[in-house]
């Protein structure tokens, strides 16, 4: 008979958010597989700490498990940050399975203070704005709300101004013209009631958002062998795929990309092959930067180029790469 444990799971989205629901599905599966010996106590909505602090919280035992946004800690997880490269991951579900399994090898050195559980990505997001934007040059002089540090650099390179604003402040900022352009998932526009403000959309799979579930080491070590096995069974690429599927499924239901086409108030622009090429060329230096950052970080002994190729091959055979 395993002793009863209750694990504190902390995240930073409001209760009822798709990701909160997804984490509950995962937690319930763990509880069931453990015969009820592993229970969870949820701390949603930044109750135990700020969004950006969630990795440290799991490391320090403030939470037993934390759901983290990889891009909220710029510089800390360069290998995991590969998904921030634009025009890379094109399919949330198949991509998440591969990314999570691929990262298993690097997690022990890049996230050494925690037990890495899984990692998954969103459906691709794009550029949405109050003014038309079609090619990289259009970003010049625009005030852009970035989504991660890498895309911030792209914006700066293209002559745009990075304007940092929290999600609750977005509406205000757009109404007041403090900024005019944002990286966003299609569904998020609906979720945050910004459809009448962000009316121009660039239909191209530019980036994915990227989350991980990590566990405090001693919380894991305290478990019985059977309980550890249950956790291990639920920390893998297959589960990462399920989490992404739950999320992507909701995206497909309403508010996804297709819903914007044919709406009078919305202007969706599908760039031509040549225009997409311009975007990719503009973003190309980011891959070089990624390679040198990973090399400098010392998080792996492998050639970063090889690390990248491994993931590219995996994504390629799973059909999860953005098409060339």
């Amino acid at each position: 008979q395993d002793s009863q444990v209750t694990l504190r799971l902390a995240h930073w989205v409001p209760p009822g958010n798709t990701n909160d629901i997804g984490l509950h599905i995962w937690a319930d599966a763990v509880t069931e597989a453990s015969g009820g010996s592993i229970q969870f106590q949820f701390f949603p909505g930044q109750q135990l700490g700020k969004a950006a602090d969630h990795y440290n919280m799991a490391r320090d035992g403030i939470s037993d498990l934390s759901w983290i946004a990889v891009s909220y800690s710029p510089g800390a997880f360069p290998i995991a940050g590969v998904t921030e490269l634009p025009f890379f991951v094109g399919d949330a579900v198949a991509g998440s399975v591969e990314i999570s399994d691929w990262y298993e090898e690097y997690a022990p050195t890049e996230m050494p203070d925690v037990k890495f559980c899984m990692m998954y990505v969103s459906t691709p997001g794009s550029i949405h704005s109050t003014v038309p934007i079609r090619v990289p040059d259009d970003l010049k002089g625009k005030r852009v709300r970035p989504v991660n540090e890498r895309l911030s650099r792209l914006v700066s390179t293209l002559g745009g101004q990075v304007f940092q604003v929290t999600v609750p402040e977005m509406r205000d900022g757009l109404e007041r013209g403090l900024f005019d352009t944002t990286f966003f998932r299609w569904k998020s526009i609906v979720d945050f009631h910004l459809t009448e403000l962000l009316t121009y959309h660039l239909d191209m799979p530019m980036y994915v958002s990227h989350f991980a579930l990590v566990m405090n080491r001693s919380a894991y070590e305290r478990l019985s062998d059977d309980q550890k096995a249950v956790i291990d069974d639920h920390c893998n690429g297959a589960w990462a795929g399920k989490m992404a599927a739950n999320w992507a499924g909701e995206e497909a239901e309403d508010g996804g990309r297709d819903a914007y086409y044919g709406q009078e108030s919305q202007t969706v622009y599908a760039p031509s092959k040549d225009e997409i090429r311009q975007w990719k060329d503009a973003a190309a230096p980011l891959t070089e930067q990624w390679i040198s950052e990973v090399a400098a970080s010392g998080h792996t002994r492998k050639d970063p180029q090889v690390v990248l190729e491994e993931l590219r091959n995996r994504l390629g055979s799973a059909g999860a790469l953005v098409e060339d």
Partner: protein
């Protein structure tokens, strides 16, 4: 005046001015950013992160100054109704609690900042490492800690502290 208190007074004076200058810089930076906003193409990169980190440092240093002056928000209701002897005991308890808090905070914060240094956390846009700002803020905490320990020692030695005369609930 002991050489320790002279050193403290001099360093508090310096920290005071540095903290003030940091606040002035952030205020001015924000002001300039707003004024220049209508002009196209003018952009001060990374102001958001820089401002919040600089203000953090400034406020931690302000904390050291507040420790030195003994000006903290506290409730004097019971204190005022007590005889002198009890008041002296309460002063000792309060200062010791403060010293313990700052000691625990600074000690553990040092480890936390070392972690952040190794993790290599950076700011947006400017790509500055975050830990030096944390370390500067930490210095304010350490200084406050030294001041509070000095005060507790002075009380135990039976010396009188200037701000014990009055000054309830100063903010």
């Amino acid at each position: 005046m002991s050489s320790f208190s002279r050193l403290m007074r001099a360093s508090v004076g310096t920290v005071n001015i540095l903290a003030a200058i940091l606040l002035a810089t952030v205020t001015l930076l924000t002001f300039v950013m707003v004024v220049l906003r209508p002009l196209p193409g003018v952009h001060v990169p990374g102001v958001f992160d820089l401002s919040r980190l600089m203000l953090g440092v400034s406020i931690f240093w302000g904390l050291a100054v507040a420790c030195y002056r003994g000006s903290h928000i506290r409730v004097d209701l019971v204190y005022q109704a007590m005889p002198r002897v009890v008041r002296k005991a309460m002063d000792l308890i309060a200062d010791t609690a403060f010293a313990v808090f700052l000691l625990l905070m600074s000690w553990n914060m040092a480890g936390y900042i070392l972690h952040e240094m190794r993790a290599g956390l950076k700011t947006y846009e400017l790509n500055l490492p975050v830990w030096p700002f944390y370390a500067l803020a930490w210095l304010g905490g350490v200084m406050g800690c030294a001041i509070m320990i000095g005060r507790v020692t002075a009380r135990l030695a039976g010396r009188k502290l200037a701000e014990d005369e009055g000054n309830p609930d100063e903010q």
